[in-house]
Symmetry: C2
Subunit: 337 residues, 2 copies
DNA sequence: CTGAAAGCGCTAACAG
DNA sequence: CTGTTAGCGCTTTCAG
């Protein structure tokens, strides 16, 4: 009395004792082990009463599983923080893993800081990982090989990395963009593209090029850069300088489109009267622009859910059910066409 | 031979044996316990050689610590995924916790789904938490009380929740916005505000109102809504309808400002000739707009680092060094003023 | 179906 | 400074 008691968490022992059974019985009753209905009920009742919360570390230590999934994003900080695709994807992944009773653990590291990634992957005790990356280094390959637990990619990895993945049908998006612009009567079509060391911009471009080819056209310019509005602005100015008659732009991101429209307004060009613009992403900015941006919506939530399901299945069944799933983009029509 | 060996991870025992010392000695040598320089070197060398990775669960079980920090964001999914402040903040937090060798664990739940949050907080075995929320329910209060581990808020919580926090000086931002617009010669100034159930928009508004009052003015309108461009667009139209002479707008977010500018362009109003616009956030859209948006940059990285440091200190020393830190916003001048 | 007992891998007293 | 000895809380054989 009067002593300060160290507040000890209630353990399965306490539950067992109060329920009048052995610890092992309590464990089985709480889990899925064999136990009589009666025992099961009694034990669970007591556990509830005592507000028993199983110790994760102990469980992990014996069972060998942690239920932790690492979300690995080995990208430049600057890129990561500003890219709506990446940050949105992270949120959606965390959300769907939580839904499936996994614990999402966020491993953000520099693209070449494989040592950190290695450490994080190990220290977290993750049972598996989702990798969200666009730049594939030797270090990343080695790190993942060493991790040696079920791993899935968001976005198709290079062919020499034989990992399961979910991806967006970028090629088809590009193709559809071309069709759309051609239907609209446009003929002098420029592409302002994302980084050419990433697969999806390459696919968007080839889709568009092929779509144009089907109409006997080819792009009057393909201007490569990053996904920012600054790139869009700069590229648009260059394209206008080269060919003032340009009448359409397929931009690889909404941000790029925004920058392009900024340049156009400075040059007195009107959208959509003088030029049509089609973007990619359907993030916030697409709606904020004036006129609204016609664009292709990326299925972030679906990507996350699909990845979660694939990984969950792999973890439960020991093998992959499917090793790749490609999801379509959705055309969102707004005033810029 | 020919048998498939279950791949057993190397444990500290293996290291100890190979180094010719006791397990406890190895443990001390690897950690910060007392050990001769010689032993320490030898053990670490062997550990390296054997590629030893300490088992997180076991460590946690004995030490009682996990090094896991929960990043709790009890907000509507829809809000979370679209809000650049929230998603940027999450990334920055994950980043700075990683820097300090903590493991950031992402707990995203619905605002009223306190049961999930509770479960996540427990199951993750987190040593502490950062809460990033703007809507404070009874359920959240109870959940955190039950969590009962060091917890820090991003953004000042309501007064009845006596938690340490880091925050942005929203009031001052609002005040400065007012000064700026008045200096620019503006007199008919409207505020398009964020949600009034959040503290920071309230502060931005009162700062601005007070700043105007100092010049003998008051806002011609205060239009409350969410942070989206849709709100900005709608509000701007209403304000123009009520008072076509409006000559300045203080928008509580860059998105709001974007929407407002969209409405203005439809009404043939020019920025900055006819009206000045000041935003808040300095996210991507601020640069993508045309003209560029004058706005107040939020110190996301500083907020994250400060929170990390405060929590790390608390975890190490058993008490808070400071219980609140408020960081200034930075004026970014662009063409919209 | 249930109880006893043996660890999982590590850290933290406690002696030496 | 180092080795021995106990556990941390739980799951999982192994007998009964």
């Amino acid at each position: 009395m009067g002593e300060i008691m160290a507040e000890r968490a209630v353990t399965i022992r306490d539950v067992a004792k109060k329920a009048g059974v052995a610890v092992s019985t309590a464990s089985r009753a709480l889990g899925n082990g064999p136990a009589s209905l009666e025992t099961r009920q009694k034990v669970r009742e007591v556990a509830q009463e005592l507000n028993f919360v199983p110790n994760q570390a102990a469980r992990q230590l014996t069972s060998g599983r942690s239920n932790i999934i690492a979300i690995a994003v080995p990208e430049r900080t600057q890129f990561l923080f500003n890219d709506a695709f990446v940050s949105g994807m992270i949120s959606h992944l965390a959300d769907s893993f939580t839904q499936k009773t996994f614990l999402p653990f966020l491993a953000l590291t520099g693209p070449h800081d494989t040592e950190s990634l290695n450490k994080l992957l190990h220290d977290s005790g993750a049972d598996g990982a989702v990798v969200l990356s666009f730049h594939y280094s030797k270090g990343l390959v080695d790190t993942l090989a060493q991790f040696d637990k079920p791993t899935i990619f968001i976005g198709q990895p290079p062919h020499h990395m034989n990992y399961p993945y979910v991806d967006v049908d970028s090629f088809h998006g590009g193709y559809e963009a071309a069709e759309l612009l051609v239907q609209r009567g446009r003929r002098r079509i420029a592409i302002i593209a994302g980084p050419d060391d990433m697969l999806s911009p390459q696919q968007r471009t080839s889709g568009c090029v092929e779509g144009l080819a089907a109409a006997g056209l080819e792009p009057i310019a393909i201007n490569v850069g990053d996904f920012t509005s600054a790139h869009g602005y700069q590229a648009m100015k260059e394209i206008l300088a080269d060919d003032p008659q340009v009448d359409a732009v397929f931009a690889h991101s909404d941000q790029i489109a925004a920058g392009a429209m900024q340049a156009l307004s400075q040059y007195g060009k009107r959208v959509p009267q003088d030029l049509s613009i089609v973007g990619f992403d359907d993030f916030h900015v697409a709606r904020a622009l004036s006129p609204g941006l016609t664009t292709f919506a990326q299925p972030l939530a679906d990507l996350a859910e699909t990845a979660t399901e694939m990984l969950a299945w792999r973890l439960r069944h020991g093998e992959w059910k499917t090793t790749a799933q490609v999801l379509p983009v959705t055309l969102i029509l707004r005033g810029s066409l």
